[in-house]
């Protein structure tokens, strides 16, 4: 982290010097000046938020449904939903690319979003599965006998009870998308610019200060998400009182 900060403000820094021979804020000026990197940040943020929200909306009922299975059915379903995550990203990307090309969204943000959703749904389904296994379903039963329909129980009881885990899940989904390189490159075909792609291209080009300042921007959201998750973890109330 410290190295990245120093590197981001270096003008020249060659071996074997222990510190930069010349200091420069060019990397940060360029970063804050907008242009290509601003587009990449915007794309990453929009894709991350969409991936977190949509992934959460899909994984929530999947995790809930799997939690109601018993024995081998539960393990099989959990393994099935997690299997795309276990595959190597390049193999997964090639498979997804075929799928998004068939849909006609190859090389577009929509295609990249669909690709990001695959691992996100896998991770978040397991996340919600673990929560629903521990969830006290008696509160839903009691709410039903109090007169609430299944839909009312979901929106007035279950979702409010799990609002903090849901917020955490959205943050996790955001981070999964935020850090995606291989899937974005393969499915986006270089046409969809995100921050990881930019950082990697600067590194390949030898623009150390640009790569370092971009990498620091990449680190910021995970740090915020970790802080938010730590705050939420201490306040999560999954059980009725």
């Amino acid at each position: 982290m410290v190295l990245l900060v120093i590197w981001s403000v270096s003008g020249e820094w060659f071996f074997p010097a222990l510190s930069p021979q010349r200091w420069s804020l060019d990397g940060w000026r360029w970063l804050l000046g907008g242009g290509r990197i601003a587009v990449a940040v915007r794309n990453s943020v929009v894709l991350g938020l969409a991936d977190g929200v949509i992934g959460c909306a899909i994984a929530f009922p999947i995790g809930r449904a799997i939690s109601r299975l018993k024995g081998w059915r539960r393990y099989t379903a959990a393994a099935a939903i997690f299997s795309p995550v276990a595959a190597p990203p390049i193999a997964l990307g090639i498979g997804i690319q075929y799928f998004v090309l068939r849909l006609g969204v190859g090389g577009t943000a929509i295609g990249v979003l669909l690709a990001h959703l695959v691992p996100t749904i896998g991770y978040l389904s397991l996340y919600f599965l673990s929560l629903f296994v521990a969830f006290d379903r008696r509160v839903e039963d009691e709410a039903r006998t109090l007169g609430a329909t299944a839909r009312q129980v979901l929106f007035y009881v279950t979702v409010p009870l799990m609002r903090r885990p849901i917020a955490e899940a959205i943050a996790i989904g955001f981070l999964i998308s935020w850090a995606q390189y291989a899937l974005t490159l393969i499915v986006g075909g270089g046409a969809v610019h995100t921050l990881p792609l930019e950082v990697f291209s600067y590194m390949r080009a030898g623009s150390g200060n640009y790569a370092a300042s971009s990498a620091l921007v990449m680190i910021l959201p995970p740090l915020l998400a970790l802080a938010a998750a730590r705050y939420a973890a201490g306040r999560t109330a999954l059980s009725p009182v």
């Binding site: 509160v139 039963d141 009691e142 709410a143 006998t145 007169g147 609430a148 007035y156 009182v241």
Partner: protein, 390 residues
Amino acid sequence: MKSSSIDAPILDPRPRRPAALRVTDVTAGHGDHGGCRDITFEVSDGERFVIVGPSGAGKTTLLRAIAGLIPTVGGTVEIAGHDRTNLAPERRDAVYLHQTPLLFPHLNVFDNVAFPLRVRGVAADEIRARVSAVLDSVQLDGFMTRRPHTLSGGQRHRAALARAIVAHPGVLLLDEPLSSLDPALRADIRQTILGVAREYQLALVIVTHDLDDAALMADRIGVLLDGRMAQIAPPAELFAHPESLAIARLLAIPNEVAGHVDDGCMLTSPMGKVPLKAKTACGDAIMAFRPDAIQLLAATAPAAQCTGVVVELRYRPQQTTVLIRIESQAAPITIEAAIVTMPSLTVGMVVGLRLDMDRVSVFPVLQPDSSEALRSIASQTSALSPAGPS
């Protein structure tokens, strides 16, 4: 009303008001453990019906089946005269309260209690009025804006009760409502339940394994054994006249004395020859009776049926009893008697005993549970011993 057999469904023939709840031949659950079969009973408005039974007897399964939380395999559930057997829980008009209060932590007390009204689309003004009234009934009128986690255990129970009754359900189903409470709170919540049941004329079905709670809360008690309703009776009748040895044991009746019915109306046992109140089949039999069915007399009193030696005094908050050893030809037996008329007993003292046969149940050993019990008792002489269960 008593059933003639443990296998027969039981209906109370006494004239009653129209049933708030009528359960007919309901079978629910599966497997040998925890299911219930062919259950039939009725509960009227304002009546408190308590179901007792050992763990795994099917009490909670029955309650959940009535609430619609699990499907019934057979039979019908009528609430307020309408068949609700196949309706979803929210359309049954039967509220099911769990053992622990399950308040929604994201809502304050007012919103928790208002929940059943809000999901029914009741107008805001009426919600305010009804919630205020019901919170007043459970002494929580000053707690409307409090969050559940700031309430004491008793207040949470009362809030959950208020939420259950605010929509005036046809039947309130309480699953072990007092089992998680300490004795002081237990009495408090018991009185609160009885108070709101009277005020709102609720039909209550309460499941419990605690016989004290059952006796204190019930108008009638149903005994569930092995998934079947074995007996339904008011508490006094049930405790005085259990219909089988299994029921007597569930009711913790401590004295079982094996004997032999000679001519249908006289039973010979280590306690002497005692006349039976009802004609009984000749053969081996077991007498079961509570400690207060024994009258303690002076050893030389002419009314004494037998004598015994005091072996232990048992002091309890509500009743002091004494263990008495009776010598017999086969082997000595030990029985437990309540101390009412002879308070100055000491260990080793010889006393006379007389049984109040109106309060003694006699079970022929033809019943499967009785034959097993007789063998057990014959080998052990008695269910009680000085070091035995109290």
